[in-house]
């Protein structure tokens, strides 16, 4: 890469935050222009984690692509593969059995909770540092996350990249005693998450660091295409699960938590409430899990080459970060002609140049954390 001197106004102090920095949540570079400690201008640089998933897709068969997509947003793998398989199913007109849909929801919501727990923990690190109270919150959150990962391991054999979603259904069915394990975990998590809620919302330092910080106006959020908790934190009740339902989400009852001021605190509240809603959805899935097959195509060891007809399809899911969409163009062969991923993190971090100026460096870290970007998702 060519060397470039950062141009700046007289009296400004240019600070390169990243790509190696403890709180840029991955490889991300913020070019901060400071006056004293106040940020006056910020230029985000992305692309350090570009892995070319979209291009790679053009060389692989449809059936082996879902696991590849799981590596995209590495905090909520199933949301990625779910968006992909939904798009392919739409393209090829494949029906999915009801039980499979329910199981997809189950795993997706479990991973939403893990993703939000990771977010809460790392947000603690952003605010409190790795050598203080922040790391305590971080380790607590990871301890709870581990319970869900254990459950997923028992269900699918893998802790995290579950490979649950396949085109036409899911790979694994629940085992006999899964119901008991699950309700035990849900009870434990509800108790713990309420504890953290009390702990944080009565903590004056936490309130001071998050309230009124990084306010996103709803118009601005819509303009840059923000979605997920960032958009809902600004008071816009938009959730793909409600507005454009997929995978039988219409059959579950849940609320869409929204914020009022659009600051970091509201984004925190939205994510926290979402964890409770997700746990409630998981409970409903297990209550109403229909009998039947989990796969509409013949399960074989060697994947039958799927050749969708010529055409294009778009499917979007509500990933923990927002609207995750996959657009596929097919030329009738067994490999996609072109795949485009609309990733929520990419749109969400587009807010950074608008909301950072005027804040202090410490707030810059808090705001970036509150947007919850995952750079595997941004750069793909």
């Amino acid at each position: 890469m060519e060397e470039r001197v950062i141009e700046r106004e007289f009296g400004e102090f240019a600070l390169n935050m990243g790509p190696q920095h403890p709180s840029t949540h991955g490889v991300f570079r913020l070019e901060l222009h400071l006056r004293g400690e106040t940020v006056v201008k910020v230029i985000p640089h992305i692309g350090y984690l570009h892995r070319g998933v979209e291009k790679l897709s053009e060389t692989l068969d449809y059936d082996i692509l879902p696991p590849v997509y799981e590596r995209d947003d590495y905090l909520s793998p199933t949301a990625n593969s779910l968006a992909f398989v939904l798009a392919v199913e739409k393209l090829a007109g494949i029906e999915v059995p009801k039980r499979a849909s329910y199981l997809r929801v189950l795993v997706a919501e479990l991973q939403r909770v893990t993703s939000h727990l990771v977010w809460l923990g790392t947000f603690g690190l952003d605010l409190g540092g790795a050598l203080g109270g922040g790391s305590t919150l971080f380790l607590y959150c990871f301890r709870e996350r581990e319970k869900i990962l254990d459950l997923l391991e028992a269900l699918t054999g893998t802790r995290f990249h579950t490979n649950m979603n396949q085109i036409g259904g899911v790979r694994y069915d629940v085992y006999a005693s899964f119901d008991g394990d699950l309700s035990q975990t849900i009870g434990y998590l509800k108790k713990r998450i309420s504890e953290y809620k009390d702990m944080l919302e009565n903590n004056p330092v936490f309130l001071k660091r998050t309230k009124g910080v990084g306010v996103v106006r709803p118009e601005l959020a819509k303009e840059v295409g923000a979605s997920g908790p960032v958009l809902r934190g600004s008071g816009v009740a938009y959730d793909i699960r409600k507005n454009k339902p997929y995978s039988d989400y219409t059959e579950f009852e849940f609320r869409i938590p929204v914020g009022r001021n659009g600051d970091a605190y509201d984004r925190y509240r939205v994510r926290l409430e979402e964890m409770f809603e997700s746990l409630s959805i998981i409970h409903q899935v297990m209550e109403g899990l229909p009998e039947g097959p989990i796969h509409s195509r013949k399960p074989v060891k060697i994947a039958l080459l799927l050749k969708p007809p010529k055409g294009e399809a778009y499917a979007a899911v509500e990933s923990p970060r927002g609207e995750l969409g996959v657009f596929i163009v097919s030329d009738g062969s067994s490999k996609p002609y072109r795949v485009k991923v609309r990733s929520p993190s990419f749109s969400n971090i587009a807010l950074i140049p608008y909301i950072l100026p005027g804040h202090l460096i410490a707030d810059a870290v808090a705001i970036l954390g509150s947007l919850d970007p995952v750079f595997g998702d941004v750069d793909r």
């Binding site: 540092g129 203080g132 109270g133 305590t136 380790l139 330092v205 660091r209 202090l360």
Partner: protein, 320 residues
């Protein structure tokens, strides 16, 4: 006391402090681990990794000594020495038992606070000499913070001195016979709390560790330091913290005075309890922002300690 004896005692004291501080890091790691439902150091020396601090020190000793090519070599190497020396100097004046103190002067409190505020110069030198932007921001933060918090720190230190009518540690301890200064209604407690807060800010501890602030400034002033030089900063931080805990136990908790018997054991117990309290704060709080820190100082702590000092003076003149 002859000067040779004095030097010998000084060397023993130095060794003891260094050893204690080394093991305080182990204590902190164990304490934090319990708090975070972890185990902490375990394998280096069974049981419970009691050799871990030694291993840490050895590891830091044998690491490569790096001086960044664009740094100011002289100042870069001076800074770690400066912070360690100034933080250790304060111990010479602190009484460790009712009768024993290395250097006995009647202005002990004044001298201690004068020495204690020198450490920030070392931090500033480190930040400047590193020629690193993060270090520079951190150095400026440290300077602003320590200079500001010096005011409430001294004002709250003066309350015990006013009560005892002396700046001599021995007199302050003697004056607490029967009623420790923390037990003085309102005035004593406010002075204790403000001192603790100001000492946390002085010692760069969470929630006021803005000059280290690893989530914003990576590691702050010591970002370019590694190996033994880094260890010096770490050591200075702990020595400073130990001195602050010791000072709290002497000024507010009666020092060597206690039920059943008097002596150094009580000093040790009280210091350890204060130290654990500071650790508890560290591992459960988030960090405040620089403007909030300054606001707390100038708008809350400074007026509060001023009024408190006035009240203490009034109380003494009315009862004296």
């Amino acid at each position: 006391m002859t000067s040779t004896e004095n030097i010998a005692q000084g060397i023993i004291l130095l060794g003891a402090i260094l050893l204690i501080v080394t093991y305080l890091t182990w204590l902190e790691r164990k304490f934090a681990a319990r708090l975070q439902s972890r185990i902490g150091p375990y394998w280096v020396g069974r049981p419970h990794g009691w050799l871990q601090p030694i291993a840490d020190a050895l590891k830091l000793l044998i690491k490569e000594d790096i001086t960044p090519s664009k740094s100011d070599r002289f100042l870069f190497n001076l800074a770690p020495v400066w912070v360690v020396v100034t933080s250790l100097l304060g111990f010479a004046f602190l009484p460790l038992t009712a009768s024993w103190v290395l250097v006995n002067i009647d202005l002990g409190l004044l001298y201690f606070s004068a020495i204690g505020s020198l450490i920030v110069i070392g931090i500033f030198i480190a930040g400047w000499a590193s020629n690193n932007k993060y270090a520079l921001i951190s150095a400026l933060r440290a300077a602003a913070q320590v200079v500001a918090y010096e005011v409430p720190l001294l004002l709250s230190l003066l309350v015990p001195a006013v009560f005892a009518g002396s700046l001599d540690f021995q007199d302050i301890i003697r004056a607490q016979d029967g009623h420790w200064f923390i037990l003085f209604p309102v005035v004593g407690q406010i002075s204790f709390l403000t001192f603790l807060l100001a000492a946390l800010a002085e010692g760069n501890r969470i929630p006021f560790d803005l000059s280290e602030a690893e989530s914003e400034l990576v590691a702050g002033f010591n970002v370019e330091y590694s190996g033994m030089k880094f260890a010096y900063f770490y050591l200075a931080e702990y020595v400073h913290l130990l001195a602050a805990s010791l000072l709290v136990s002497i000024l507010f908790l009666g020092g060597p005075l206690g039920p059943f018997f008097s002596g150094g054991v009580w000093v040790a117990i009280k210091t350890l309890l204060v130290f654990l309290g500071v650790l508890w704060i560290r591992w459960s709080f988030l960090r405040v922002r620089i403007d909030q820190l300054m606001m707390l100082n100038w708008k809350v702590l400074t007026p509060l300690t001023l009024v408190n000092l006035l009240l203490a003076g009034l109380w003494v003149s009315l009862n004296g």
